[in-house]
C-alpha cells in the first residue's frame, strides 16, 4: 500500500539507525507520547536498532488507558439501565472498572454495542427512537472531531434520545505534567502525529521553549519514527529545542481548521483526571453549554470520582514513563491481556499490551 510500504523499508530504516548512531555522542532519553508509536516501536524492534544510550520511554498517549475507572463504572451503570443502548469503541469493552468491565455487563444482558464511528451511534438513535442511545466518547484530539460531529449532528437532527458520556483528553497538558514530575528525565519528545493533523504544531512551541526540550511531530511507520528520533537527537546534540515536523505529509502547521471549528463549538476545555497522572488543569474536553442536553452526565447523573487501582498494578508509573512493563512482578503472570489487572494491558495502544504481544519471548533475557 502506498505511503505505508516505503515507510517500512528495512534498508531505509537501517540507514536511519546508522545515521542516529553517527550523530549521537552521549546518552539521550526520548519519550514517544502516543501509544500507537509505542506499539510500532516494539512491533518493528525499533528500540533494538538504536545505539546504546538512546533510550525510548513510553508516554501516556493511550486514551483508553488514561480514562478514569469512575467513567468505566458510570458507563456500566448506564448500560444496565432498561431501554438504554450503550455504544463504545471496541477497546473500551475490556477496560476494568471497579466492578468488572462493559463486556461482562453485556454478558449479563446489558445492551452494549461496539461502533466503528460515533456517527453509527447517531444513526442508531435515529433508527430506534424508543431507546436511549448513549455513546461513550473517549479519546485524544485525533478522535475529538469525529465525536464532536456526532453531537453536532444529533443536535441538528433534534435527536432527544442521544447523549454522550464524554471523557476526552488533550496531549499538551499531559506533556507538561510529565515534564513537571520531580524525577523527570526526558530530554526530548516525539509528539503524536495524528493528534497534530487536527491541532497543528503551534501549541507545542511554548512547551519546547519553557522546558528546553526538542519536540518532533512524528508519524507511525518505522521510517517515520526513526527519522523523528534522528531529528530529535540532532537537535539535542546541537543544543536546540524547537518544534520540528517529521510528519509533514499529513500535518499542517495550523492543523485542520474545519475540524477545530466544530470541536470549538461542541466542546469546552475542562480539568480532567488521568489514570496514573491525577488531575491536570485544562487537560480535557467536555460538552459545551449549548450541548448540555446531550451530556449523559446530565441525563443519568454525574460521574463520581473515586479513583482506585489494584495495588499490584503499576500502570500509573508506566503511564508516567517511570517504569517499564517488564519491571512489573505481575506482568505476564497474574496480568495478561486475557485477565488484565490494569488498563495498560488491555488497550491496543497500551504499553503493557505491546510488550506482552511483541516481547514476551525475550523475557528470559531482558535487554537492559
Amino acid at each position: 500500500m502506498r505511503f505505508r510500504d516505503e515507510y517500512r523499508d528495512a534498508d531505509t530504516a537501517r540507514k536511519l539507525a546508522d545515521t542516529i548512531a553517527r550523530t549521537a555522542t552521549r546518552p539521550w532519553t526520548i519519550m514517544e507520547v502516543c501509544g500507537g508509536q509505542t506499539h510500532a516501536i516494539l512491533r518493528f524492534g525499533i528500540d533494538q536498532m538504536l545505539p546504546d544510550g538512546i533510550e525510548l520511554i513510553h508516554g501516556p498517549g493511550c486514551p483508553v488507558c488514561v480514562t478514569p475507572v469512575d467513567f468505566v463504572d458510570k458507563a456500566i451503570e448506564i448500560a444496565e439501565l432498561p431501554a438504554v443502548t450503550l455504544c463504545s469503541f471496541g477497546d473500551m469493552l475490556r477496560v476494568p472498572g471497579s466492578r468488572g468491565d462493559l463486556l461482562r455487563a453485556k454478558s449479563r444482558g446489558a445492551d452494549v454495542r461496539v461502533v466503528y464511528s460515533p456517527l453509527d451511534a447517531v444513526d442508531l438513535a435515529a433508527a430506534y427512537p424508543d431507546r436511549e442511545i448513549v455513546f461513550f466518547a473517549v479519546g485524544f484530539e485525533t478522535t475529538a472531531p469525529a465525536n464532536a460531529m456526532a453531537a453536532y449532528r444529533a443536535r441538528r437532527a433534534g435527536l432527544a434520545n442521544f447523549s454522550m458520556l464524554t471523557s476526552h483528553v488533550l496531549v499538551p497538558p499531559a506533556m507538561r505534567a510529565v515534564l513537571e514530575a520531580p524525577d523527570g528525565r526526558i530530554d526530548g519528545f516525539l509528539a503524536a502525529g495524528h493528534v497534530c493533523t487536527v491541532m497543528g504544531t503551534r501549541e507545542y512551541e511554548p512547551i519546547a521553549h519553557a522546558f528546553g526540550v526538542p519536540i518532533v511531530v512524528t508519524g507511525f511507520e518505522p521510517v517515520d519514527i526513526l527519522e523523528g528520533i534522528y531529528l530529535c537527537v540532532r537537535q539535542l546534540e546541537s543544543g536546540r529545542n524547537v518544534v520540528e515536523n517529521q510528519y509533514a505529509r499529513a500535518v499542517r502547521t495550523d492543523g485542520n481548521g474545519t475540524a477545530r471549528a466544530i470541536m470549538g463549538e461542541v466542546f469546552r476545555v475542562v480539568t480532567r483526571n488521568w489514570r496514573g497522572l491525577g488531575d491536570i488543569a485544562d487537560s480535557g474536553l467536555a460538552l459545551a453549554g449549548a450541548y448540555a442536553a446531550f451530556d449523559a452526565e446530565n441525563r443519568f447523573g454525574a460521574v463520581v470520582s473515586k479513583d482506585a487501582i489494584d495495588a499490584a498494578c503499576i500502570s500509573g508509573a508506566i503511564l508516567r514513563g517511570e517504569s517499564r512493563p517488564t519491571e512489573c512482578p505481575a506482568f505476564g503472570t497474574r496480568c495478561t491481556p486475557d485477565q488484565p489487572l490494569g488498563v495498560t494491558m488491555v488497550s491496543s495502544e497500551g504499553a503493557c499490551a505491546a510488550y506482552h504481544r511483541y516481547r514476551r519471548a525475550d523475557l528470559g533475557t531482558p535487554r537492559q
Binding site: 500500500m1 502506498r2 505511503f3 505505508r4 516505503e6 531505509t12 540507514k15 536511519l16 545515521t19 469503541f89 466503528y116 464511528s117 460515533p118 456517527l119 453509527d120 485525533t142 478522535t143 472531531p145 469525529a146 460531529m149 449532528r153 495524528h194 493533523t197 487536527v198 521510517v223 527519522e227 517529521q246 509533514a248 505529509r249 499529513a250 500535518v251 499542517r252 485542520n256 474545519t258 475540524a259 466544530i262
Partner: protein, 66 residues
C-alpha cells in the same frame, strides 16, 4: 455531508469527508474512526527519501576522501 469511497489496500469503506473539503478523487487521505482528517501531501511524502539520498551521497563522499 460529503462522503467518499476509500480503498484501504483492497477493502473499500465509505468515509466521511466533512473535515477534508479539499479532498478530490484519487487523493490519499488519513482516516480515523470513519472520518478523513488529513489529505496526504505527496511532495512532502517523498521528502524523507530525497533527504536520505543526500545523507548517502554525503557519506559516500567522505568515504572516498583520502
Amino acid at each position: 455531508m460529503r462522503t467518499g469511497r476509500v480503498d484501504f489496500g483492497g477493502v473499500t469503506k465509505i468515509v466521511n469527508l466533512a473535515y477534508v473539503p479539499e479532498a478530490a478523487i484519487g487523493d490519499h487521505v488519513l482516516v480515523h474512526v470513519g472520518f478523513a482528517i488529513s489529505v496526504i501531501d505527496e511532495a512532502e511524502a517523498d521528502r524523507i527519501f530525497h533527504h536520505l539520498q543526500e545523507i548517502d551521497d554525503l557519506a559516500g563522499g567522505e568515504a572516498a576522501a583520502p
